[in-house]
């Protein structure tokens, strides 16, 4: 391949990517006009889960902090939104902000201890936090309704005094808009100088330290940011399900989010959204058709994803390679 052709191919890639992104956005926006209410509900769940996965991707893929505890801020955000909806206000965006703050608060409370650890120990500590928060949700009946969960969450409204959103299509548009805004913010963070610092910490923390960076602060900051994203995702989940229970804080949610990140390709953010779609589809569409053998399929998807998608759908390049 001549250098001129190579250069043209390299220049064409970003343009192609932009066109693909634009087409995907248009398709996503048109969904409510094309599909039935049940499918729109499912896609709404996909979007909420995608936001959780994107936040986790920032934490794990970009910053190199693998977490099996993202269900904790997700659930805290969901409970915050549900409690707000039942007792204070049904305005969706308000619940969203409150949930994001709640998720960030949880992350801030434990993060300053957790990010001192690395690798597998960090993973285990996030698992511990996840399990402890799960137990708390199960036992703190007065606030969380205990193991029966919180039912009767009213439908959200889009602005104070507005009509409750009952149509699946309208709810989908709200969730799509919210996810685009939040994911967009995360994407900006990932592309900024801060994002580059995070990647530096991921690839070689000692070298960053020897270069004079304080690695604790960026790690703590991204941990809180991922917590905020998870909390926001939780409020969107509740907006659709109108029910939250300790099961939403379980280990399974954290593991599925991590699977979504791996399928999608770590570090690319948009890949995590695609991974989330695959995970939710397999769980909700494919598994019930197999009469109880759902976990088997999910396990096979795990194994296949790890082997066949070494860098996920997004195929991120973490280093410049010599091969074209």
């Amino acid at each position: 391949m001549s250098t001129a052709t190579e250069a043209r191919a390299a220049a064409a890639r970003p343009a192609l990517a932009r066109v693909a992104a634009g087409a995907a956005l248009v398709l996503a926006a048109l969904v409510p006009l094309l599909v039935s209410g049940n499918v729109a509900d499912m896609l709404t769940r996909v979007l909420a889960f995608a936001l959780l996965a994107i936040g986790l991707d920032l934490l794990t893929g970009v910053a190199g902090l693998p977490s099996l505890g993202q269900a904790a801020p997700f659930g805290v955000g969901a409970y915050a939104a549900a409690l707000l909806g039942k007792h204070v206000t049904t305005v969706g965006p308000v619940q969203l902000v409150a949930a994001a703050l709640a998720g960030a608060a949880l992350a801030a409370a434990v993060g300053w201890l957790l990010v001192r650890s690395r690798g597998t120990y960090f993973l285990m500590l996030t698992l511990a936090v996840g399990e402890i928060v799960h137990e708390l949700a199960d036992r703190w009946e007065g606030v969380t309704g205990g193991s029966n969960g919180l039912a009767g969450v009213p439908a959200i409204t889009l602005y104070p005094g507005g009509p409750p959103v009952r149509l699946a299509g309208v709810l989908y548009w709200y969730v799509l808009a919210a996810v685009l805004v939040c994911a967009g913010a995360l994407w900006v963070v990932a592309r900024s100088a801060f994002g580059r610092t995070l990647r530096g910490v991921r690839d070689n923390e000692e070298r960053m330290r020897s270069l004079g960076y304080r690695t604790f602060v960026p790690k703590y900051a991204v941990f809180c940011l991922a917590g905020a994203a998870a909390g926001a995702a939780g409020s969107l989940w509740v907006a659709q399900a109108r029910f939250v229970s300790p099961a939403d804080l379980g280990f399974e949610v954290s593991a599925l989010a991590l699977l979504a990140v791996v399928i999608g390709g770590r570090g690319s953010l948009w890949g995590a959204a695609l991974g989330a779609a695959v995970v939710v589809l397999v769980r909700e569409e494919l598994s019930p058709q197999l009469g109880g053998r759902g976990p088997l399929v999910l396990g096979l998807v795990f194994v296949a994803a790890v082997y066949l998608l070494p860098r996920g759908f997004a195929g991120t390049r973490l280093r410049r390679s010599n091969r074209s």
Partner: protein, 309 residues
């Protein structure tokens, strides 16, 4: 002194539980030490051992022979499964430890579901061997003889593992590989086969743990998750890659789960993870873990060999 008398049975039970946890955790610790692989399928393999006990002992006469058969089957199945897992995770060695961990998680789901399809979702119970079915009296209270037998068997296993790892040539090679794999390879030893052997050994221990623990814990879907979490906590508390650490961690967690629950019942749900969190915050690499020997599990940086100090 009367407090001790009143709680003696509980303390003894904590030892029994701890010894059972050790058989599960030591394999996990060894595999992580030599390969940096967090084998999340370990709990599922324990469950395989438990179901082997169901298959061979089942409702029928609980003879020692049946248990022996189950044990031998556990060794065979465990060795095959361990070798298989080692081979499966090998291609991922350059890709970071998160991939390997997720692969084993996938395997765990598959194994769990296959067991459920084969044995059903009902809770299965395994009677202890007939001569151990009774109880003995400890400090005036009854205590099942089988659990005492578990202590004896588990301690024997611990001694065996200790001798193998600390006193044999193979063990020396294993420890050397954990510390500096490149150097061992430079000496002409095929670390690849060593890794497979360690993996197989670790999984065999998990399966044997399943057979040993079946009369105590039974076999049912979901038990593997509980066992895995306890095993992970033990390994992390004791220090990843350290056999004495696994034993110490197992003893600590065994007492926490039993004596701790007895003393602080209202916090029972939080004790295990709370202990782990406290230990990690005071000593981030675990009680007997290697200081500075922690490697990241994300990222695509090639495995570092023998990080300094």
């Amino acid at each position: 002194m009367s407090w001790l008398g009143g709680n003696l049975v509980t303390i003894v039970d904590g030892v029994a539980f701890g010894v059972l946890l050790f058989t599960i955790a030591v394999g996990l610790s060894l595999v992580f030490g030599i390969m940096d692989v967090l084998n999340l399928a370990h709990g599922a393999l324990y469950l395989v051992g438990a179901y082997l006990a169901v298959r061979f002992v089942g409702d029928g006469p609980a003879t020692f022979g049946a248990f022996l058969a189950a044990g031998l089957a556990a060794v065979a199945v465990g060795a095959a499964a361990g070798a298989g897992l080692a081979v499966m995770t090998r291609p991922l060695a350059t890709r970071g430890h998160l991939d390997q961990a997720l692969l084993t998680l996938g395997v765990a789901l598959v194994v769990d579901d296959l067991l459920s399809a084969r044995f059903g979702n009902d809770v299965q119970s395994v009677p202890p061997p007939a001569f151990l079915a009774g109880s003995v009296s400890i400090a005036g209270r009854e205590y099942p003889s089988y659990r005492l037998a578990v202590i004896v068997a588990g301690l024997a296993l611990a001694v065996l593992v200790y001798l193998l790892v600390e006193r044999s040539r193979v063990g020396a090679l294993v420890r050397a590989t954990v510390a500096d794999a490149a150097m061992v390879r430079a000496m002409g030893v095929d670390t690849g086969r060593l890794v497979v052997a360690v993996f197989a050994f670790g999984v065999v221990l998990a399966c044997l743990g399943g057979v040993l623990g079946a009369p105590v814990l039974g076999a049912y879907p979901g038990l593997d998750e509980r066992v895995l979490i306890l095993g992970l906590v033990v390994v992390v508390v004791g220090g990843l890659g350290s056999v004495p650490g696994a034993f110490l961690g197992a003893m600590v967690i065994g007492q926490v789960e039993v004596l701790g629950v007895s003393l602080l019942p209202q916090y029972a749900s939080f004790l295990v993870f709370g202990t782990m969190a406290v230990v990690l915050l005071l000593r981030p690499e675990g009680i007997l873990g290697r200081a500075g020997g922690v490697r990241g599990t994300a990222g695509v940086v090639p495995r570092r060999m023998g990080k300094p100090g």
